[in-house]
């Protein structure tokens, strides 16, 4: 008995994610290269948008050994430079050298959510190439800091190999350079798609991609209108669980339940707090710190049953809005017709969200058939399309026949979900879960844009009819004029130009008549 032992060990978050790197989108060299690029780009865009800086992001991917003819996979250097606000040098080591360290745990819409994206890319690079990451940043423009960092995986701690500072040139921004084992050959298409789609929902950003052959792919700015940065909000009661509730209680300095409720939750004031506590049968003056475990559980259950809470408002969200979405669609897809539908704010489990859907029809970029472009908090989602709620909606929930869209019409459907918490199914951020509220909003928005398209096609059809009519009149009326002039023995052709929708000069008429005589 005594020699039967169970070994207990604790692993650090970074070790856990290293072991389970599939979860974060680093499953193979091609996917890892793609994920590294997008994590760094998304960090840059997040940073710029929060400070309302028109983003300029340059992404360079090059072979570590430029002259190497070695086949993929092989070490690549990825450099992402932005014109964002920069990072306070005090936080740089942790921001890049520690999993679950980040500035985005607030209830506010951003691409980053978990505090591990950039760090995972660095971690993966370190494991596969043993090279440190180099971060160059300036947050005040006066001084530029350069860090070489590695991660102590077991301790989930940064190791600072170098820290230098120089005089800045007055501009702020960050550049992250990391080395990792990648397969550009197989990742190239996805990386290209990523930039194209990014450009679609961030038409105000200037993105440049330089590939390993030194070729430059610029995505120019299509508008300088930027969405308003989101505000931070308190958690909504519907999204709360027992553990989160306990944490809020711990953070709070309030000594009565009614004051605690009305200061800790989104859109809960004293009035709603009292109504709720009455509904829950709790004493409003009770000190929240004195709640027993059972009382806490009962209270949280009551929260989920109470229907008097207000819907979350959208101030913490930063939807693109119809104008920017439209500009992005037109810029990247150059469609014959574009439509957008912006849904009012809604919520699932207490998290506010807004669904925005765009539609592109025809043009030279789209090929026949329906193509879905999925976005969440402005991140293009390129993998696992068939598992996504948007896909389910357009393939199962829409009665396409209703809209009389010609079969095989070139159609692009763009879905954008923004939320303080996107219901990703994995930390790899590739597809969204089927939340009924989300599904409903997507369905409504997709129907709306299809209705708009259907209206356009109808109008276009009748306009073509008018054009065809004018053509037919243009062919036959001159003949009728000529024959009747002859029959009537008239001296001049009749003035029927108005019937062709134009008033032509007698000379013009004469010319036309002469043509036939």
């Amino acid at each position: 008995m005594a020699n039967r032992q169970v070994a207990f060990a604790e692993i650090s978050p970074s070790e856990f994610f290293y072991r389970n790197r599939d979860l974060a989108g680093f499953s193979n060299p091609a996917r890892a290269l793609y994920s590294a690029v997008r994590e760094l780009v998304e960090n840059s865009l997040d940073a710029c948008e929060l400070f309302k800086i028109l983003p300029e992001v340059t992404v360079t991917v090059s072979g570590l050994d430029r002259d190497s003819e070695e086949p993929d996979p092989k070490p690549y250097v990825v450099t992402v430079r932005d014109n964002g606000p920069g990072i306070d040098p005090r936080y740089v080591p942790n921001a890049f050298g520690r999993v679950f360290f980040g500035s985005k745990f607030l209830l506010r819409q951003s691409r980053g959510m978990f505090g591990m994206g950039g760090t995972m890319a660095i971690l993966y690079g370190q494991i596969t190439t043993t090279k440190p990451v180099t971060v160059v940043t300036s947050f005040d423009g006066n001084t530029t800091y350069t860090f070489d960092l590695m991660i102590d995986i077991q301790a989930n701690r940064p190791i600072v190999l170098r820290r230098e500072s120089q005089h800045g040139d007055g501009s702020t921004g960050t550049s992250v350079k990391l080395t990792l084992e990648g397969d550009y050959f197989r990742a190239a298409q996805k990386i290209q798609d990523y930039f194209k789609q990014c450009a679609m929902v961030t038409p105000y950003a200037k993105l440049t991609h330089v590939d390993p052959q030194g070729r430059k792919f610029p995505f120019e700015r299509g508008t300088s209108a930027m969405p308003n940065p989101p505000e931070e909000t308190l958690p909504h009661p519907y999204g709360i669980d027992v553990e989160a509730f306990r944490r809020l209680v711990k953070q709070s300095t309030q000594t009565s339940l009614v004051k605690f409720m009305s200061s800790s939750f989104h859109r809960v004031g004293p009035k709603i707090a009292s109504q709720f506590l009455q509904f829950a049968g709790s004493d409003p003056n009770k000190n929240p710190g004195e709640l027993t475990s059972e009382e806490t559980v009962r209270l949280v259950e009551a929260i989920h049953r109470f229907d008097g809470f207000l819907q979350p408002d959208a101030s913490c969200l930063s939807p693109l809005g119809s104008e920017i979405l439209d500009a992005g669609i037109r810029k990247e897809l150059q469609p014959e017709f574009a439509a957008t539908s912006i849904r009012p704010p809604s919520a699932y489990s207490g998290y506010p969200f807004i669904v925005e859907v765009g539609l592109a029809y025809g043009g030279r970029v789209l090929s026949p058939g329906v193509k879905l472009f999925r976005f969440a908090n402005r991140i293009p989602l390129l993998y696992d399309e068939a598992s996504d709620v948007s896909w389910r909606v357009i393939s199962e929930e829409i009665d396409w026949k209703r809209y009389r869209i010609p079969p095989e019409a070139p159609l692009g459907i763009i879905t954008h979900v923004c939320s303080t918490k996107i219901p990703y199914k994995t930390v790899g951020k590739e597809y969204l879960a089927d939340r009924p509220e989300l599904e409903r909003e997507l369905k409504n928005a997709v129907r709306d844009v299809l209705r708009q398209l259907s209206g356009y096609l109808k109008k276009k059809g009748s306009m073509e009819m008018v054009k065809r009519k004018l053509n037919i009149y243009g062919k036959y009326l001159p003949l009728i004029a000529r024959f009747s002039t002859n029959l009537a023995k008239a001296k001049r052709p009749p003035r029927y130009g108005k019937l062709l929708g134009k008033r032509d000069s007698p000379r013009e008429e004469q010319r036309r008549i002469e043509e036939y005589s």
Binding site: L477, L487, L499
Partner: protein, 360 residues
């Protein structure tokens, strides 16, 4: 005898000009021109008891150049008016087929001849004139023989005269004959026969002299130009018309169309000779003259039953003969008289039947 041909030509030209002026004025006022004429749909063909012929009812077609479906036939109709106006002015004629091909030079081409024939009928309605009046003739032609002097009005032959007994094969009833003036005749009747063989027999047997008759070969169901000729002979020369056909339901119907008109030409009232008489061969003649006969076919019987329901066939000999055909279920051709010798038909049958017909 007055010159009806030139009068008719002037009238047609006048009608064509009026039509052109209507269209022209509308266009000049920036109004989409339209033409209204009676509908020829089956529902609008009605039998007129008083006229004893089919005529068109009161519903009409409004063909507007504004209607995208109408503008092409509208243009074709105006083109046709323009085209026949030139024909009439130049004294030329054209066949139905010519019209079909001529359209192609003017960007108003017809899909097929059926379509151009339709438009020709439309113009007949718009003008209330038969196509022969505006110089359009069908291809099939029948013949006339007898003592009638005509004077041509067609270009190159104006003033030229001809006696229609000069050539034993007879003369084609074509455009030049249809437009010729009647100068002189000694004839006292017109004998219309259904087929060429009997026509030739009649000429050989000098029927024109014995009966003082103009003989016409209708070549089966007579073309409209022939019916028109019969009408003119009756109207202008006051000659009674007698019709001789095979002894079957089709022969009976040939006579009926000459007398009461056809549904196809319900829009034209100038083609019938309502006083014309069918002298035979009747079903009762088949029996009475013991003519060699053949059994009626299924199609013959069906046709007889159809005609029994036709309003033109009410009363008189018409129902009676149909009933008899259906009873004996046999039919005889005119040639069957040859059984009794080649001249039997002219020497015996015809005089007897003419006497009988005159008494009707």
């Amino acid at each position: 005898m007055k010159s009806t041909a030139s009068l008719r030509r002037r009238e047609v030209k006048q009608l064509l000009r009026q039509m052109g002026q209507r269209v022209y004025t509308d266009l000049d006022n920036a109004v989409f021109p339209e033409l209204v004429f009676p509908s020829r749909s089956v529902r609008n063909i009605v039998y007129d008891e008083g006229l004893k012929q089919y005529i068109l009812g009161s519903s009409s077609i409004r063909r507007s150049s504004q209607n995208i479906k109408h503008i092409r036939p509208f243009s074709q109709l105006v083109w046709l008016a323009y085209f026949v106006n030139k024909l009439v002015a130049e004294g030329k004629t054209s066949t139905l087929r010519d019209v079909f091909y001529s359209s192609q030079a003017y960007n108003v081409e017809f899909v097929d001849q059926d379509e151009s024939d339709e438009i020709i009928t439309d113009l007949e309605e718009v003008l209330s004139k038969a196509r022969e009046d505006f110089s359009v003739y069908p291809e099939e032609r029948s013949a006339i023989f007898g003592d009638l002097t005509i004077e041509y009005t067609v270009p190159g032959y104006e003033g030229k005269k001809l006696n229609l007994s000069s050539h034993p094969d007879g003369y084609l009833i074509g455009p030049s004959l249809s437009t010729a003036e009647f100068v002189d005749t000694s004839a006292e009747m017109v004998l219309a026969v259904e087929k060429g063989g009997i026509f030739t027999r009649f000429v050989e047997e000098k029927v024109h002299k014995k009966f003082k008759a103009l003989v016409i070969d209708t070549a089966g169901q007579p073309p409209r130009s022939t019916r028109y000729m019969l009408k003119r002979l009756h109207q202008e020369l006051g000659l009674p018309v007698y019709i001789v056909t095979d002894g079957d339901v089709y022969g009976e119907h040939i006579a009926m169309v000459i007398i009461s008109g056809s549904a196809n030409a319900a829009h034209l009232r100038e083609l019938t000779v309502s006083s014309a008489k069918w002298v035979g061969v009747w079903a009762s003649d088949v029996v009475k003259y013991k003519l060699p006969s053949n059994p009626m076919t299924e199609a013959d019987i069906k046709r007889a039953q159809e005609l029994k329901k036709d309003p033109r066939y009410t009363g008189g000999i018409w129902q009676r003969e149909l009933d008899l055909f259906l009873k004996i279920r046999r039919k005889s051709e005119l040639e069957a008289f040859s059984k009794y010798g080649l001249t039997h038909i002219t020497d015996k049958y015809l005089p007897e039947k003419l006497r009988e017909a005159k008494g009707m």
